[in-house]
């Protein structure tokens, strides 16, 4: 499936924006996101008036093994840790021109992730960015009402992160087998 090159004018206009060919997405630096978004909504820049989907993706830090050649010609395996990242993904469509999707990504570090809210540009981001804030812990600068949305206010942690560990005895329902039975054996649960 080949999509038209909707991204090219963006790359020309904003040199800091990168194009990720594998994911078919524009990687937009957070500080530029607002400007890019506003530019994209203009009728002669594609009229991307409809932001359909906003979500987050969590990439854990991972070890990459790379072969490199030593000056003396022998090969060496270098283990390098690639830093993880959190991505905020926006799927844009144009209702006016019936085109899309154009994928926009804000990539932020996993530690203290801060993206820029595109809610002022596309209202549809409002609840979805709140959801990303809630489930991934990405804070959005410029969001009018950034609160937890699906989890309750007192909840700690961000469950959609890949390294989220479920608390031990959190709201579990006893079922008769598996780890529950195991807990039962250890005397934690009484099964009628």
């Amino acid at each position: 499936m080949s999509t038209p090159a909707w991204h090219e004018p963006v790359l020309q206009q904003f040199p800091a924006v990168r194009w990720d060919g594998a994911a078919r997405a524009l990687i937009v630096p957070p500080e530029l996101a607002r400007a890019v978004a506003e530019w994209l909504t203009q009728p002669d820049h594609g009229a991307w008036d409809f932001c359909s989907n906003v979500t987050g993706v969590d990439y854990l830090p991972r070890e990459v093994k790379e072969k490199s050649k030593r000056p003396d010609g022998t090969e060496e395996i270098v283990v390098r840790t690639e830093p993880g990242s959190l991505q905020v993904v926006y799927h844009l469509y144009s209702v006016a021109q019936r085109s899309g999707p154009l994928v926009l990504k804000q990539v932020v570090p996993r530690q203290a992730p801060a993206a820029v809210s595109l809610t002022p540009v596309w209202r549809s981001c409002e609840l979805q960015e709140r959801e990303v804030y809630d489930l991934f812990g990405v804070s959005f600068e410029g969001h009018p009402d950034l609160r937890r949305i699906l989890m309750w206010d007192e909840f700690t942690g961000h469950p959609m992160r890949k390294d989220y560990a479920e608390p031990q005895d959190y709201e579990w329902e006893p079922t008769p087998h598996g780890d529950v039975l195991e807990k039962h054996r250890r005397g934690k649960v009484i099964i009628a």
């Binding site: 006893p174 008769p176 087998h177 598996g178 099964i191």
Partner: protein, 229 residues
């Protein structure tokens, strides 16, 4: 411009029509749609009810059961405890342990096969992934129990139902499954037979070649009965 209330009168005509005609709706298809009792025949006649006293049709699915061939449940159990369904079950409600004989050798059947009906969501993924046609969906829904946890945990012996029972509840599906199994079996047998025949042929050819070689040799020796293989 009409007087206020004409649209209301129009609507009232509809409700009055429904009210009056509900007393004359003999076949209960439109104006008296609700059945007085759940077990009143109401489903279209083309859809076979599985039991005379329920509205469960021959297509309804509810919870999985294990099938066995023949009269002896454990003798004819189809499940070989391969644990594919356990792995694939979306809500993880199946629990299987393999059975071993005294020597610790795996005999192809489950020692424990539990399905937790309080967790099962009747999606029939287990039926689809089973390579042995051992698990199918039941249409029994009267499963209430006083014991919330233990009572809804169905064990192997509760789950085992005969193939005849399956034919009774889902005749069409059961027939199709049996046909397919028979076909697969026939294919397998044909393949096996073909393989056997090929093997036999090869052996015969080998024996013939040996005999021929013997004949050409001057001193006779005891030929091994290769043809018997």
């Amino acid at each position: 411009m009409r007087l206020l209330g004409f649209g209301i009168l129009k609507g009232m005509a509809v409700t009055l029509e429904n009210f009056v005609r509900s007393y004359f709706d003999r076949d209960r298809r439109h104006h008296l749609f609700t059945k007085e009792y759940a077990w009143e025949p109401g489903a279209p006649a083309e859809v076979l009810p599985a039991r005379a006293d329920t509205t469960v049709t021959a297509h309804s699915r509810n919870f999985p059961i294990l099938l066995h061939d023949g009269a002896d449940p454990m003798g004819g159990i189809r499940c070989v405890a391969c644990q594919i369904c356990e792995r694939e079950c979306p809500p993880q409600c199946i629990y299987i342990e393999k059975d071993y004989d005294e020597q610790g050798k795996y005999i192809k059947r489950p020692a424990i096969f539990d399905i937790d009906l309080s967790v099962c969501m009747s999606c029939q993924i287990c039926v689809e992934v089973c390579p042995f046609d051992a698990i199918v969906m039941d249409s029994q829904f009267e499963l209430s129990t006083a014991n919330r946890f233990g009572g809804l945990l169905q064990h192997r012996d509760q789950l085992l139902k005969s193939n005849e029972y399956y034919h009774r509840i889902h005749p069409e599906e059961a027939r199709a499954r049996d046909d397919r199994m028979a076909q697969e079996k026939a294919e397998k047998e044909a393949k096996q037979a073909a393989a056997d025949a090929a093997k036999k042929k090869a052996a015969e050819a080998k024996a013939a070649a040996e005999i021929a070689a013997e004949k050409s040799k001057p001193e006779p020796s005891a030929p091994t009965a290769g043809g018997a293989a």
